[in-house]
Subunit: 422 residues, 2 copies
């Protein structure tokens, strides 16, 4: 069941809004074994909506269209689809009743403009939108191809997808005997090409299936894709490939699917019942922000300090002034003292400390921009002594935000690796 | 100059990654007067890359393609474009040298796979990528249409766009004799309709130009759009309109264009020679992270504490335990004590403090999820006393990350407003 997505709206075209709807829909479809093979975006122009629908319909069995269903003059999807499908609008009594009630209970005017949302195409199935005012529409064409048209407001689109379209497509997909399944393994600490060498000749174990290498800031993701007749066959085959990959690259695999580094670290800390604190300089709170973005992080994260000035490093983390004076703030001695200071001052079992030069200013010949020291500390549960280890990174870019992101990822990875090998 | 964007990658197709590249590029193009009229996304299939490039090229003068330039077997853009454009790969000596140096300085293997990134199309102009390993490519076709192909890693794509493609297209656009210029002024602390009243009848000063009111989380943005034959005429006209708007609404205008709130705050702090510290609970370092993402922030940002646990609020920020016990951590009394504590302990002139319930767990009937107290403190330069003011926000969503982002923005806005009216 080839499926494509069409997003309609000038605001998406000119980049004022990021197209999160398309990603959400594609992900949900992929979870029920349907592969989206094309997305596209056009503005609110009738001719463009028609020509793009026509093109995608030739390539696909199902098109899901979002956007352009509002009540104002720049919402033209309904009109365009009626023209294209030789359909016509008529008053839909249930929708009219629903809208009347919707506006009245909110004390909002229910005038001509609002009523126009009850004018709906005769040939379409109407999908009632219980969380907004624009209903969804579904056309089943004589050749059994389907066109769905949904509002662009994310909550309304999601409501209709979850309650109507996903169950419907899932049933169709299972009947079709063609099940696509993805699984992603997350690696870190190894470059894309080195990982490819480590895994070797993929044709040896992939057969008709596929493996993609997807680099990201935190590391390379390995995505397995399998197509089988049934879900069970697909699941079995995915786990075969997964176990081969885990044999070849276990050292670098730290998580699965869309898990973030901070989530992986959180799981490890929880399972080992350890607490964490952070001492950040160049990352400026990015690490603690990522860690606290995980619900439930208060179970293991006690807090952190952003010690941007040297005075704060001394005052809060008790880094001796002499150490900073002698080695500079970006040094092994200082970053280790920061990590130990965090463990001691915040009474945590583990800590992460970072000190680096993010740029674009502040580099020197022996400490160029991107030079970053990272330390992780771990309290010995038996005698309470604190072990610390540190590592020097050269992120080698002049882009401040990139150096910071890389430092934050590398720091979390360092603690993940330390805890994984405990 | 009709422009379209083509994003290549299975990971975007299946929704594993949100297509932020397309939005970023479209926005940058719109700033230099170029309107993107279509985006599309296809997977890593040679035939699909070719047919989609062909289709978009028929509709457009310029196509910007991102993705599929890595060194592994699932990166096929280069191959597809060579087939489509009847081009062939050859070794590009400068790129080979660059890559050798890139891998060697990082102590990474430089083998056949790595070298393959120096195999580049003969007919293309090579755009050197100083922040990664995949160069960009530009073809200028006999009919003067252009195809750009860039890596999909956001930082690398941005580097090539900013350093090569945007300046090039901007020049072309200027020569075309049809220059659209946008300028956006950022306001805060005033509602859309009040701002409209303040500005009055726009027809008095706009003539053929236009002004849009765009509400956002941080305030209403005023977008001026002007079309003239030359860039100079457009710039002159924009500054005429800008100065009229600034006369009418100076009190609320705090920044321009895509300036972030943290940048605006940084400018204000610098101009007033004030230092800042932060005390964050629910935002977990997000505010300090945004502030330190600005180059030069060490001039005014001293540091901050992420006081996630109550113990840390007491230990580092000297918030009396009794206060937390009596009012709870999410309260006016505690957030004000946190702000004062930050000013005192970190010896800063100003501070921001946040304490709230981000969710999805932890709400209660009188403090539902999204309840957030924010305080800003300011040291009186004459007598060193610290003034503090605080405000209660109800962000009203169940989404942790959204509540955190809104809290971070609201907190920075609060200090901006305080400093603007100094």
């Amino acid at each position: 069941m080839k499926t494509s997505l069409l997003t309609i709206g000038d605001e998406i075209c000119i980049g004022q809004i990021i197209n999160t709807n398309a990603a959400w829909i594609a992900q949900k479809l992929s979870q029920i074994g349907i592969r989206v093979h094309a997305h596209s975006v056009v503005g609110d122009e009738i001719s463009e909506i028609i020509s793009e629908t026509d093109r995608l319909l030739k390539l696909s069995d199902v098109i899901i269209i979002t956007g352009g269903l509002g009540p104002t003059h720049d919402d033209r999807t309904k009109e365009a689809l009626c023209l294209y499908l030789n359909d016509a609008l008529e008053l839909h009594p249930e929708t009219l009743e629903y809208l009347k009630h919707y506006y009245q209970t909110r004390n909002r005017v229910f005038g001509k403009r609002q009523q126009s949302q009850a004018l709906l195409p005769k040939k379409a199935f109407i999908l009632q939108n219980n969380v907004g005012t624009a209903p969804g529409m579904a056309w089943i064409l004589p050749n059994q191809k389907r066109i769905y048209s949904l509002p662009g407001v994310p909550a309304e689109m999601k409501f209709l997808m979850e309650n109507q379209i996903l169950p419907e497509l899932s049933e169709l997909q299972e009947k079709s005997g063609n099940f696509t399944l993805h699984k992603t393994l997350l690696t870190t600490g190894i470059a894309e090409s080195d990982l490819a060498d480590q895994i070797g000749d993929v044709s040896q174990f992939l057969e008709s299936d596929s493996l993609a290498f997807l680099p990201s800031a935190s590391g390379v993701r390995l995505r397995i894709t399998v197509q089988r007749k049934t879900k069970k066959e697909a699941l079995d085959r995915v786990s075969e490939i997964e176990s081969i990959l885990r044999q070849k690259a276990s050292r670098w695999i730290f998580g699965e699917e869309n898990e973030t580094l901070a989530e992986s670290l959180g799981k490890l800390l929880k399972s080992k019942k350890l607490t964490l604190s952070t001492a950040e300089s160049c990352t400026g709170g990015m690490i603690s922000s990522q860690i606290t973005d995980i619900s439930g992080s208060s179970e293991y994260f006690l807090g952190g300090v952003v010690a941007y000035s040297n005075e704060l490093k001394t005052k809060i983390l008790k880094v001796p002034q002499a150490l900073i004076h002698e080695h500079g703030a970006v040094s092994k001695a200082v970053v280790e003292a920061m990590a130990i200071g965090a463990c001691q001052e915040f009474q945590s079992d583990t800590s992460i400390a970072v000190s680096g030069i993010s740029g674009p200013k502040g580099g020197s010949p022996d400490k160029p921009i991107g030079t970053t020291w990272i330390a992780v500390a771990l309290r010995n549960p038996s005698n309470q002594t604190i072990q610390v280890e540190s590592k020097l990174f050269q992120f080698g870019t002049n882009t401040r935000s990139l150096n910071r992101e890389r430092a934050a990822s590398a720091a979390i990875v360092m603690l993940i690796q330390k805890l994984t090998n405990l």
